[in-house]
């Protein structure tokens, strides 16, 4: 598919799309990467909501793209599902058609194919890429995995996750498998999850000390993996968060993550999400943001948070296609609602969606933006339809 797969707004636009809050004196200005989940377009927008750059990728993302300091976009592509007999990939995931790195003009600079690459990736300082991937769990372990819905294995198999560190030459120089290090008595699945999907790793960040911070959605656990031994040296989550995404290490040593809240075990019938900052030294939550009222901010799946240099936090409420910036006091100082809707090729449960897997803000002095033309004039035709003047008040 080489055409832009963007649908226009719904027939009854009930809400203003695009940037709808911008308190310029309180925001941390920069450029935000908008990567609609059901489209193969990737956009950079300015603070007013002008589209200033666009990449057209070969496929919809699996699940997103990241803008690198070298000015390229690193993006994972989606392949069609293989036949149901193909046991080399799990059915519930879609299949990767490869990680691609493209330059500012969209030319292919690097590609790495691992069918089992899932969710995300991390470009390390040394130029290698850390890749989360799904891996089938050996039978003798699979039968002892606890939780989940009985009988819901993937064609009899239980999948978990692993990590591969890949060099620019495509050589795998470090491997890690969750099944080797998880505790079957502790890491019990959410009772409503499919047993085909034991852990559901949805995040990967290589830390300055070389260890990897990751998140396992279906067991409500985030953890740090020791590079040398593969041991889990810190973990947190069960009873505190539910189906979380995208933990990230902050300069102050705390970890910021998106607590989706899809399947909390507190008996509550209200769903709400939170941005949570936890201190790994004490395991205490030191800051959180909830909507007012709490259920007004909820994304069952996907999503992320990013701490900005001025102390604000950028939050992507993925399922609603909403990105917003809050101060530490919880005041919303910027907000954007994705106007690009479409159907997902593989995951029908999204419906006609404007979901965003994640969003990132890049500062004006970000290395990758050096000498780049970021004028709204570049995409005058898009701004005429979806820009701040077009979408009105």
């Amino acid at each position: 598919m080489n055409y832009a797969r963007t649908d226009i707004l719904m027939a009854i636009p009930r809400e203003k799309h695009g940037v709808r809050i911008y308190k310029a004196e309180k925001t941390c200005d920069g450029y935000t990467l908008i990567n609609p989940f059901t489209s193969n377009d990737v956009w950079l927008i300015d603070m007013r909501g002008n589209y200033v750059h666009k990449w057209v990728m070969p496929t919809i993302p699996r699940n997103h793209g990241v803008f690198l300091p070298n000015g390229n976009l690193l993006y994972s592509t989606m392949a069609p599902l293989p036949s149901i007999e193909d046991m080399s990939v799990p059915r519930h995931w879609g299949v990767s058609a490869g990680l691609v790195e493209v330059d500012w003009e969209g030319n292919l600079v690097w590609k790495y194919l691992d069918k089992c690459q899932s969710h995300t990736f991390y470009r390390m300082e040394n130029g290698n890429t850390m890749i989360p991937r799904v891996e089938v769990v050996p039978d003798e372990v699979a039968v002892r995995v606890k939780g989940g819905m009985p009988g819901s294995e993937d064609r009899g198999a239980v999948w978990s996750d692993g990590l591969h560190e890949v060099t620019p030459n495509g050589e795998v120089i470090w491997k890690w498998s969750a099944a080797d290090h998880l505790d079957l008595d502790v890491h019990v699945m959410c009772p409503l999850s499919y047993r085909g999907d034991w852990t559901h790793m949805n995040s990967c960040e290589v830390l300055p000390d070389g260890n990897t911070l990751t998140s396992f959605r279906n067991i409500d656990t985030i953890c740090i993996i020791d590079k040398a031994t593969g041991n889990i040296k810190w973990q947190w989550g069960p009873g505190e968060v539910s189906h979380q995404h995208a933990p990230t290490l902050l300069d102050n040593g705390n970890i910021l993550l998106f607590d989706n809240g899809a399947h909390r075990k507190d008996g509550s019938l209200i769903n709400y999400s939170r941005a949570v900052e936890v201190d790994p030294a004490t395991n205490n939550i030191v800051w959180e943001y909830k909507g007012d009222p709490p259920r007004s901010f909820y994304s069952s799946l996907i999503s992320n948070c990013q701490r900005l240099p001025n102390g604000n936090t950028l939050i992507c409420e993925g399922m609603k296609g909403r990105v917003f910036e809050v101060t530490t006091d919880g005041e919303i100082v910027w907000e954007y609602l994705n106007p690009f809707y479409g159907y997902h090729d593989v995951h029908g449960y999204y419906g006609h969606s404007n979901s965003l897997f994640r969003a990132y803000r890049y500062m004006p002095d970000h290395l990758g933006l050096k000498d780049k033309n970021l004028s709204p004039e570049n995409l005058a035709w898009v701004n005429g339809l979806y820009g701040p003047e077009a979408l009105g008040d």
Partner: protein, 395 residues
């Protein structure tokens, strides 16, 4: 809309004759007022309750309001839907009848003969409770698993009929949702009395809707279960015998996008013959409560309870009327909210409005095109629903 809670004005979206003309009754949960508004959202009448609304109010054919209220002192006051009294009030908010039952909850129905049927909690005998499967372990309420009873009382408050859920439910079939507390077995939240005198009820925690024979208490029809229905809330029976249900969609198995749906089920085949989900599915989501009412013009009045949004939907899935409850309350269970449990539309000629509401100048109902625009009829079996849900995951 479920995206962002906004403080709303009294704006209403009204597509004129396409919507069933009349008045809409709604009861902000946790508030003390029940409102009747016209099609333009203008308040026509307000009832003022001496206690907080526990679930909802209904305008009876005799012109009185019947409403379930709570003083938060009931033994199970923190259970969702708790109410301690049923109040019947005249147009001027004078209480003309009152029935107290500290274990009453959610729904009630005034029969033509003057009796009232209501839902109430009863403790499940231990020997049955320990056989009930599902739910989070060790989450009973002080070691009691409460279950539902349906009770009929006469105007003097005497119990003339009672159905005890635990005598008729089957622990092998009626399993508690894996993520819910075992403080309750079923959490019935809605029922209607069918023209045959049976009871059609919705059991939230067992993800089931069922028809109960009033003579012997047998469950003569059941529908639901994991992957087909998640936390039903409100059932309705159509003239053709089909059942409609609002599936809240919370605690849906697998990859839960967070959306609600309305299903119409043909009871003979158990197939789904009509369904509604929003175009962008997360735009219609009410995890906790809501209602639906099939209107005489073939449209359905839907209450997205959690967001306080009421809308009227044609069979062709067009929204022809929409209103959002602007009256926020603060409740001990839900915090600050504008939730609505149940909402009703009454036509201009409704008996209960005679003499009280402004005379209609336009007819309530305009002949409409019926059926799906493409002429394609749905008939989806439960097995197909499960296959579709798994298929959306890639299986």
């Amino acid at each position: 809309m479920s995206r962002i809670q906004k403080d709303v004005s009294l704006d209403v979206f009204d597509k004129g004759p396409k919507a069933y003309r009349g008045y809409t009754l709604f009861s902000p949960v946790g508030g003390t007022e029940v409102y009747l508004i016209d099609m333009k959202g203008r308040p026509i009448h307000t009832w003022r309750m001496p206690f907080e609304i526990g679930s909802h109010g209904v305008l009876l054919p005799n012109g009185n309001l019947l409403c379930a209220v709570t003083d938060h002192e009931e033994p199970l006051a923190d259970f969702d839907g708790a109410a301690g009294s049923l109040l019947e009030m005249d147009w001027d908010s004078n209480v003309v009848w009152r029935y107290d039952d500290p274990y009453m909850h959610h729904d009630f129905h005034r029969m033509p003969n003057g009796n009232t049927i209501l839902l109430r909690w009863v403790p499940t005998p231990n020997d049955i409770a320990c056989k009930v499967k599902g739910g989070l372990p060790d989450t009973e309420r002080e070691k009691i698993m409460w279950s539902d009873s349906i009770r009929e009382i006469n105007p003097a408050g005497k119990v003339v009929w009672e159905w005890l859920g635990y005598e008729h439910l089957d622990p092998e079939i009626d399993k508690v949702c894996p993520l819910c507390f075992r403080n309750e077995w079923t959490h019935a939240n809605s029922f209607i009395v069918t023209p045959y005198g049976d009871i059609l009820a919705s059991f939230m925690k067992t993800n089931t809707i069922a028809i109960i024979n009033k003579e012997n208490g047998d469950i003569t029809w059941r529908w639901g279960g994991f992957l087909t229905l998640a936390h039903p809330h409100d059932v309705s029976l159509l003239d053709n015998g089909d059942v409609m249900v609002l599936g809240c969609g919370i605690h849906l198995a697998g990859m839960e996008a967070g959306y609600s749906e309305i299903l119409q089920i043909e009871t003979k085949s158990n197939n789904i013959v009509w369904e509604f989900r929003e175009y962008s599915v997360v735009d219609f989501y009410t995890p906790c409560k809501g209602s639906l009412q099939r209107l005489p013009n073939g449209n359905t009045l839907i209450c997205e309870g959690d967001t306080g949004r009421i809308f009227e939907l044609t069979e062709g899935k067009e929204i022809v009327w929409e209103y959002v409850n602007p009256f926020y309350q603060t409740s001990p269970i839900y915090g600050r909210n504008n939730m609505l449990f149940g909402v009703y539309r009454y036509g201009h000629d409704y008996q209960g409005l005679k003499g009280n509401a402004p005379k209609a100048t336009k007819p309530a109902m305009v002949p409409q095109e019926k059926g799906m625009p493409e002429g394609k009829k749905l008939s989806t079996s439960k097995e197909q629903v499960v296959r579709d849900r798994l298929g959306s995951l890639g299986y």
